[in-house]
């Protein structure tokens, strides 16, 4: 199994079980921005102890669920890890949190074409920017600010800046957003 097949298998499992979800992290920033390598697929889902077991059962023996959820320190959310047997690629399933922006980006998620006959749920470009800038500001991870910069540059004037600015003000990361915007050369 390849890493992209593993990610697709999780999408199919969530869809088949009717579990509301969205594919986040570098998958969504690659969609709107510039592609880069990633060693895990991150999902946010309305998922609990019972439904995670159903997901694991549906995925079958090529996947191994760590039944003990962990607390992710950057996003402060509960996370289930699913390992792909024989492939160093991981699936991270984050439970939808009560955080106001987590709730809002989940509500605004959209369906996009994945392959010829498939669709997947992902956040909007604006919500990818807000999330990446927030994490860049909190965890000081350069890859998050690089991803935000790439999405802003690629999407250009299609971005709803009133929405992005309002959330970055509310989340206390407006300075980080402005610095990233200022670093983008004219296209």
């Amino acid at each position: 199994m390849t890493s992209d097949q593993a990610a697709l298998a999780v999408v199919e499992a969530l869809e088949a079980l009717g579990i509301p979800y969205m594919l986040v992290g570098s998958f969504s920033s690659n969609y709107y921005g510039i592609g880069r390598s990633t060693k895990d697929a991150d999902f946010v889902a309305e998922i609990g102890a019972q439904s995670i077991v159903q997901v694991a059962e549906r995925l079958g023996p090529q996947f191994r669920l760590d039944p003990q959820p962990s607390f992710e320190m950057v996003t402060m959310t509960l996370r289930y890890m699913i390992y792909v047997v024989d492939v160093p690629f991981k699936i991270e399933l984050f439970r939808l949190s009560d955080d106001a922006h987590d709730q809002e980006r989940f509500r605004r998620r959209r369906r996009v074409k994945l392959l010829a006959d498939r669709e997947v749920s992902i956040p909007t470009a604006e919500d990818v920017i807000v999330t990446k800038v927030r994490w860049a500001s909190l965890a000081r991870r350069s890859k998050d600010s690089d991803d935000a910069r790439a999405v802003i540059a690629v999407q250009g004037d299609r971005i709803d800046w009133d929405y992005v600015n309002a959330w970055c003000d509310r989340l206390g990361c407006r300075t980080a957003l402005d610095e990233i915007r200022q670093s983008i050369p004219p296209m």
Partner: protein, 76 residues
């Protein structure tokens, strides 16, 4: 010699324009595909470095390298 800001900006601009020309659904799966490619190249390098190692040992060494990269990334 350090690259100039003009060169860095020009390279970034080129990557942005290429990304705009690429259908987004193709870019969605770029991440895991690039990762698999990187793993294959790293495994080839490990086979050169450890010619007597069997495939299981190569995969263990690859996992160790990836863990080292993860720690370096987190401490950066």
């Amino acid at each position: 010699m350090e690259p100039t800001k003009e060169l860095i900006d020009a390279l970034f601009r080129e990557r942005v324009l290429r990304a705009r020309r690429t259908p987004p659904e193709e870019k969605l799966l770029d991440g895991p595909r690039l990762f698999d490619l990187a793993c294959r190249i790293m495994a080839d390098g490990l086979r050169d470095e450890y010619p007597d190692a069997d495939e299981q040992r190569i995969q263990e060494l690859l996992a160790q390298r990836l863990e080292l990269l993860r720690r370096l990334e987190e401490s950066a």
